[in-house]
Structure formats: structure tokens, C-alpha cells
């Protein structure tokens, strides 16, 4: 991956470079999957609620997250940087491993080749979707690579992913995702994915709102409900809504479908017993997010690296909004 990054960056040497405005937070992208709307058909909710009892057995918890950012634009494409973080919690002692940042120069010409090269050394085949933003695809690919690495090297751990276990959408090819889950299972790991926002609906209500009033910690099994979803998607995980902490938020939780229902519930109870849960969200995953995210000073540092190592010639970005509309051309608070 490092070689591919360097290879891609060779093309950028001496080019004119327009750094992206680091004030705009939407440039920072986490891996995000785009699912169609999922609807739950009417059924009594309380029967689907499972109260949870924490099990303290010392199970290690691993959280994985990856962030990417567009660092700037060249005459032929864009420079993106990716950074991944793996956080391990053993008996409430946290350790992290950060990978990156790695810059990639992506152009229309090189993008397919680059993805092909990236997948060459991975046990998967991620096809490039031309209609999806290259930044999020790059981010997804690195994240899958880290997930595969952890699934392979960890044993008897609970592995937390950011997002869902929905396959068949961009960045989540069914075969590849199933392969990663299989490797994890073979190593006695249990994969759980936490979504901060979900599109799952019950009678047009957000499913997270439905269990908001119930006493935590509890799990609400969405999976047993008849769900309507687009044909191209496949749920590789058993879908739950979790509310793990008093006063905390409700999150969608996907657990590897190949694991029996009882084991899934026990796994959540083990997570509850061995992990700090703040606002209903596991600490390892929160830390993984924090460590992978790019700050503004990171971006300036990367831009300095590009200027120093590749002789990029910086030109300032003209703000068309500001040029045309003056003080009315800026964002609120921006």
C-alpha cells in the first residue's frame, strides 16, 4: 500500500497544487456506506427487547476506524490522504496503532489502475465504482484491509467496526465482506459494527427513537422483523438497536449473522462487561475514530510534506462564493 501511495505520488512531482480549504469540515470523510431506506413492518416492539447483563471475562476489544481527506487538487486530479487506527482494550488498558497518513494522487486516468494495484496484494477484489466519490472508495478499501488484517491476526476478540455489515453496496462487495467475517469467525472473533446513524425505519419513525424510552442496557432485535430493502443489498449481520448506557444514545448494531442469536447477545453482554461505554458507544471505537481523524494541523503538515517531497507549487484557492457575494458568500459560522 505504501508503494502504491508513493507510485501514485510520483506523477504529481512539480505540479501546480491548489490546497483545499481546511476550514470546511465536509472534506473529512469517514468510511460511510450508502444504503437504501429500510422499512420495518408493524409488529409489537416490547417482545423484541432483550435486557442485558454485563459479563466481565476479560475479553479483549478491538476497534477499527479509517479517515480520509482531500488535501488538494492538481491539474489532473486530486491528492487524498488516508489514515487508519486500531485501538485495543485489554482489561481497560488501551493501546493504539495508527497507520498513515498515506497520500494518494488520484486522476481519472489512474484511478482504475490504482484500485487494481491496491487489491492485488489484498485477498479481495474491490471494483471501482465510477459514480461514487473516489475518496470514500479509497477510505473503504483501506478500512477493509485493516479489518481483514485484524480478523486474521486477533484471536478470541470482539472486533468493532464503524458502520454496518450491509453488503452489496459500494465499498462492501458481498463476497469480500463475507470472506473477512469468515476469517474472523475462524479465529474465534466476533465482529460487531456500530452505526451512528441508520436509515432503518418503522412506520416512518427512526428505529432508534422507538427504544429511547426503554431502560438500558438492552438490545432490540430488528432482524426478526420483516424488512424491506433494495434488492442489491445483503445483510451479512444480524441487525439490532442497542441502548447500552443510562442517558446514552441508541445505535444500530450489526453482529455477524453466522453467529447464533444467543451467542450474539452474550457477545454484547461481554462487550458491556469489558468495555467503557460512554453515551452508549464503545470507547475503543470512539478512540479509533479520534486517532484516525485528520485535524487542520495534520492537513497543513501533509501539504508541507507534499511541497517538500514533490515540489508542488501551491496556488491559492479562489472562493467563488466570496468573490461573488462578499460577506454573504460564506457559510454560517464558517
Amino acid at each position: 500500500m505504501v508503494e502504491i501511495s508513493l507510485e501514485s505520488m510520483h506523477m504529481v512531482r512539480g505540479e501546480i497544487f491548489q490546497p483545499d480549504n481546511i476550514e470546511f469540515p465536509e472534506l473529512f470523510i469517514e468510511t460511510r456506506q450508502f444504503e437504501g431506506l429500510v422499512h420495518i413492518k408493524n409488529k409489537s416492539i416490547s417482545t423484541l427487547l432483550t435486557p442485558l447483563r454485563p459479563i466481565r471475562d476479560g475479553t479483549p476489544i478491538i476497534g477499527i476506524d479509517v479517515s480520509s481527506i482531500k488535501v488538494g487538487t492538481t491539474e489532473v486530479g486530486g491528492v487524498y490522504a488516508v489514515r487508519g487506527a486500531i485501538v485495543l482494550n485489554v482489561s481497560n488498558r488501551y493501546r493504539y496503532l495508527r497507520f498513515g497518513p498515506l497520500p494518494f494522487h488520484i486522476t481519472k486516468k489512474s484511478i482504475r489502475e490504482l484500485f487494481k494495484d491496491l487489491c492485488k496484494n489484498l485477498p479481495f477484489d474491490f471494483s471501482f465504482f465510477p459514480h461514487v466519490e473516489p475518496q470514500s472508495q479509497l477510505c473503504n478499501l483501506v478500512e477493509r484491509w485493516l479489518q481483514a488484517y485484524v480478523s486474521h491476526s486477533a484471536r478470541g476478540n470482539i472486533i468493532l467496526w464503524d458502520g454496518s455489515l450491509t453488503a452489496g453496496i459500494s465499498g462492501s462487495p458481498t463476497a469480500e465482506l463475507s470472506k473477512i467475517l469468515k476469517i474472523a469467525r475462524e479465529n474465534s472473533n466476533i465482529v460487531m459494527a456500530f452505526s451512528k446513524d441508520t436509515t432503518v425505519r418503522f412506520l416512518e419513525w427512526r428505529i432508534t427513537d422507538l427504544i429511547a424510552e426503554h431502560k438500558p442496557p438492552c438490545l432490540f432485535e430488528v432482524d426478526s422483523l420483516p424488512l424491506s430493502s433494495p434488492d442489491f443489498t445483503r445483510f451479512l449481520g444480524r441487525i439490532y438497536m442497542e441502548k447500552l448506557a443510562e442517558g446514552g444514545c441508541t445505535f444500530r448494531l450489526d453482529i455477524d449473522r453466522a453467529i447464533p442469536r444467543e451467542n450474539c447477545i452474550t457477545a454484547v453482554e461481554r462487550l458491556l462487561g469489558n468495555e467503557l461505554v460512554y453515551q452508549g458507544y464503545p470507547e475503543t471505537l470512539r478512540l479509533a475514530h479520534i486517532y484516525s481523524t485528520f485535524t487542520a494541523s495534520d492537513v497543513i503538515g501533509i501539504q508541507r510534506f507534499l511541497a517538500k517531497n514533490y515540489g508542488l507549487r501551491f496556488i491559492t484557492q479562489s472562493n467563488m462564493h466570496r468573490t461573488l457575494f462578499g460577506p454573504y458568500g460564506t457559510r454560517l459560522g464558517g
Binding site: 505504501v2 501511495s5 508513493l6 481546511i22 476550514e23 490522504a81 485501538v87 488498558r93 488501551y94 493501546r95 493504539y96 496503532l97 495508527r98 497507520f99 498513515g100 497518513p101 498515506l102 497520500p103 478512540l287 479520534i290 486517532y291 481523524t293 485535524t295 487542520a296 494541523s297 495534520d298 492537513v299 497543513i300 503538515g301 501533509i302 508541507r304 510534506f305 517538500k308
Partner: protein
């Protein structure tokens, strides 16, 4: 370093790791296209306002943190990120411009942000350009860049100087250095020594006599410094009685009559004065008032009727000057405030007399904590009138607010050692020879024995100097109850208990 901003005479310069800059150093901003260079002094160093730094610090674990980890950063981008995060903002004051190799007090132009080059200005270059070192150098110590800085003794000649700094920062040490520097060039120096700190100027640290030994004369009032009433003029004794001993006006009038009577009869002795007061026909209250002051004069031990043990101060001054200069230390330690004032009144009156009659050329007066023995009426007199007679004063104090604002404004040279108290900093910032921001910002962080020089001695280019050590026996060190051995023992015990 990159030029970032200019506001008034303040420049903001971005500096990066590896560019080691200290407060007080000078920078040269060279604009080749304009053919000019700007000289600016760093008065403060801040962290550059790098966006996202708060988030970065919040997530990065510190040594004690329970979260430990490692970064796999194959391209070493992190070093660039850290480089950005460690960027500093140098707040600088503009001090002049070099055009065609000539230094001018001009800051009306703006160097280019894009193609100006910024580098440190070595003190040697600044000294040469500004012509700071003159013909009579007094070595003070070293600057940041290890340049041996010397000031020109001529810049102390005819000038009013102030040495100030909080306790223990090296004020007396610096004054000793200046005193001996002046003596090297044949100057006559008088020290009003409040704590007996200068009495051993003639000895090396090991107690042996140094090269100044024969030039140092220590006068201890009441012991080695006594005067007769004949030597004391009426106006001197009147000032002493009025200011030092608080004699009321009516009584002072009677005293004048008694003095003139004795003078006429050629019986102006201490004994006769006592007798005359007792037998003088006047109001009993006046008589009591006069006798109580007379007793004070007698008890001070400063006055004597024995000509053999009396010191001819004026002659001593003349002799010192004739012999190529020297130091007269008036040891005011262990004296009551009123006795101290009495002695100082006498010394100053005699000095004024000798100078006004051209018996001596000029005298450098070093006055330590002058507010403790100098009446307010004297301050302006010393600073303005007596300066024209050739009395050049250096005030040494750790209480800057005891020196009036107008004296700060008239001071030609100010030697500032460390102050942290805001009130003190505000007081010294009133000095006319530097802007308040430079003074407060640099002085606040000066370590002991580092001094900020302001004024003519540095041609108004404030310079920080580390005062060099002096091989002179110290006296007047604070007496302590606990000895070094005792405190060492205590610490060892603590350590043993802690390790157990």
C-alpha cells in the same frame, strides 16, 4: 522564518523548529528588491495559532496517560505535522532600517512578505553598526550569542542611571562591576552603601588584596568617619536638623543664632554647643527641642571635637581625584535612619561644595535604596541641579516605585534585572528610553544575572546581557539560620523515607 504581520512598530514573524530564537535577540529582515533591511528585536515568543492544534493535543497521549500506542508512518509525514504544530510566532519591535549600509531610526516602510529573508542579527554586527562600544569600554558580560559586550564609560559620564531588579537578581554585583570599570578609567566614585556590601571591593574572593585595594576607601560614620562642627557649614547642619531630625522652624531660628554666636567667638565645638543651648535665653520648649537634637548629634558619634580623629572629606575627595580616581564607600549599615540621613546630608553638601568650587572635576555617586536616606526634596536636586555641577548619580533599588516617574523619564541609562510583579513592571515601563511592551515582556523572563540594558549605553537598542562574574569578596550576604549542611541532611532523610 517568515514575515507574517506588521502592526505599528510591531512585527509578527513565524519561526519553525530548529530556528532557535530567544527573547531579546535581534533579527534582520532583508528585502533585496527594496535594497533595505529592517532591524527588529524579539520581545516575546508565542505558539503560532495553528488550526486544529487543540484537537491534536487532546488526542495525543502524554507519558503518564493510560493510552499508549505507536504510529506506523512509513512516509514520515508525522514529522511535518509536528513541525507545523511547533511553529512559533515571534513578536518583534522594529528598531531601525539599514539603507546603503547605514543604520537609521526609520520604520516607515514595509518589507516584502514573499521575498524577504529573515536571519538573526549577530550582536557584533549590531554593536558595530550602532557604534555602541566606545573608547572606554567596561566589560559587562556576554550576550545570547556569546558576544563579549562592553559599554562605553563615556556614556555614564554626565548621565543619570538606574539599576533596578527584584531581590537576588544581581543589582549590587552589576553596580560593583560598573564602579570598578569607572575606577579603571580614573573616575572618583562615592557609594552610599546601605548594607555594607561594597566594603570589601578591595579584596579578591579569597581574601587577598586586589589591584583596587589602594583605591578603595571605606568610611564608617562614627568609627572611621567623624567630622568637627568647624568642618560642617551652618546650612549643612541646618538641613540635618530640619530634615533628618525634624527641628521646627522657631527652634531652627534660635539654633542659627547660637551657631553664629559660637562661630563669632571661635568656640564652635560640640561641647560648647551643648553649653550654649543650655544657657541660651529662650523659650523652655525651644530649648528642650534644641537640646534633644543636640543629644542626637552627639549620640550619632558622627561629630567630634577631636581634630585628630576627624576626617577632612573634601580633602579626601581631592586626594582621590589627584591620585587617579578611586572609590569612597560610605558604610551606612548598622545606622539608625536619622543618623543615616545626617551622614548623607553632610556628604552631599560637601560634594556640592567641592564641585561648585571646582575643587574636584566630577564624581559618580552610587546610591543604594536612596529612598531610605534621601529626602524627597533632594531627588530633583540631584537629578537636575547637581548634575550640572558634575555629580552623576546611579540609583540602585529593588523597589522601583520608590523612584519618581520623572526620574525614570530623565534617566539616560537603565539597567533592568528581573521583575515579575505587575506593579513593578508597570513602574519601570514608564522609562522613556524604551517602549513599555519591550520592557515588560523581556524583563519578566530574565533569569538572575541577566540584565536588559536600555538607553545611551546601547544607543537605544535594548540588549540583554549575562553579567560576568567578578572576583571580589562579597559582604553583606543575607545571614541564614539553617546552614547548608543541615538542609542537606533534611533532604537526605526525606529521600530515604520516600524510597522506603
Amino acid at each position: 522564518m517568515r514575515l507574517f504581520k506588521k502592526a505599528g512598530n510591531t512585527l509578527h514573524i513565524l519561526s519553525f523548529p530548529g530556528e532557535e530564537i530567544e527573547k531579546g535577540e535581534y533579527l534582520l529582515i532583508r528585502d533585496e528588491k527594496a535594497g533595505k533591511a529592517m532591524i527588529a528585536q524579539v520581545i516575546d515568543i508565542e505558539f503560532a495559532n495553528v488550526p486544529g492544534i487543540m484537537e491534536e493535543l487532546l488526542r495525543s497521549p502524554d507519558i503518564k496517560d493510560s493510552i499508549q500506542g505507536e504510529d506506523s508512518d512509513p512516509l514520515d509525514i508525522m514529522s511535518h505535522i509536528l513541525y507545523i504544530q511547533d511553529a512559533r510566532l515571534l513578536i518583534c519591535k522594529i528598531h531601525g532600517t539599514i539603507t546603503n549600509g547605514e543604520l537609521r531610526q526609520e520604520n516607515s516602510w514595509l518589507p516584502s512578505r514573499t521575498h524577504s529573508t529573515i536571519c538573526k542579527l549577530p550582536t557584533r554586527s549590531l554593536i558595530e553598526m550602532a557604534g555602541i562600544e566606545g573608547g572606554l569600554p567596561i566589560k559587562l558580560g556576554e550576550t545570547h550569542d556569546s558576544f563579549p559586550l562592553a559599554i562605553d564609560a563615556c556614556q555614564l559620564d554626565g548621565k543619570l542611571n538606574i539599576i533596578t531588579g527584584k531581590k537576588g537578581t544581581g543589582k549590587s554585583h552589576l553596580s560593583k562591576l560598573l564602579v570598578l570599570g569607572l575606577v579603571d578609567y580614573g573616575a572618583t566614585v562615592i557609594i552610599l552603601d546601605l548594607n555594607g556590601e561594597y566594603t570589601n571591593l578591595g579584596y579578591d574572593r579569597d581574601g587577598s588584596k586586589n589591584k583596587y585595594h589602594n583605591k578603595i576607601h571605606v568610611l564608617s560614620p562614627g568609627k572611621t568617619f567623624k567630622v568637627t562642627l568647624y568642618q560642617t557649614k551652618l546650612y549643612v547642619i541646618m538641613r540635618t536638623l530640619t530634615y533628618a531630625l525634624g527641628l521646627p522652624g522657631t527652634s531652627a531660628r534660635e539654633f542659627r543664632h547660637i551657631w553664629r554666636f559660637l562661630e563669632k567667638k571661635r568656640r564652635l565645638t560640640l561641647y560648647e554647643l551643648g553649653q550654649a543651648i543650655q544657657s541660651w535665653k529662650c523659650n523652655q520648649h525651644v530649648k528642650d527641642a534644641l537640646y534633644s537634637r543636640y543629644s542626637a548629634l552627639v549620640n550619632s558619634g558622627f561629630f567630634t571635637d577631636n581634630m585628630a580623629e576627624a576626617t577632612d572629606f573634601e580633602e579626601m575627595l581631592c586626594k582621590t581625584e589627584r591620585k587617579g580616581g578611586g572609590v569612597i564607600v560610605i558604610d551606612l549599615s548598622d545606622m539608625s535612619p536619622s543618623d543615616r540621613q545626617m551622614v548623607v546630608e553632610y556628604v552631599l553638601a560637601k560634594l556640592q561644595e567641592a564641585l561648585s568650587q571646582w575643587k574636584i572635576r566630577a564624581v559618580f555617586l552610587f546610591a543604594e535604596e536612596a529612598h531610605l536616606y534621601l529626602k524627597e526634596t533632594y531627588w530633583d536636586d540631584i537629578v537636575t541641579r547637581m548634575r550640572h555641577f558634575g555629580l552623576f548619580t546611579t540609583f540602585v533599588t529593588n523597589q522601583p516605585n520608590t523612584i519618581h516617574e520623572n526620574i525614570y523619564r530623565q534617566a539616560d541609562n537603565i539597567f533592568l534585572l528581573n521583575f515579575v510583579n505587575e506593579h513593578d513592571l508597570q513602574t519601570i515601563s514608564r522609562a522613556a528610553r524604551a517602549d513599555a511592551e519591550t520592557v515588560t515582556s523581556i524583563v519578566r523572563d530574565l533569569p538572575p544575572h541577566r540584565c536588559l540594558l536600555l538607553g545611551r549605553i546601547v544607543k537605544d537598542f535594548p540588549i540583554v546581557v549575562k553579567i560576568r562574574p567578578l572576583n571580589v569578596k562579597t559582604m553583606g550576604q543575607t545571614r541564614f539560620f539553617f546552614t547548608k549542611e543541615e538542609t542537606k541532611k533534611e533532604h537526605t532523610l526525606d529521600y530515604v523515607q520516600f524510597s522506603l
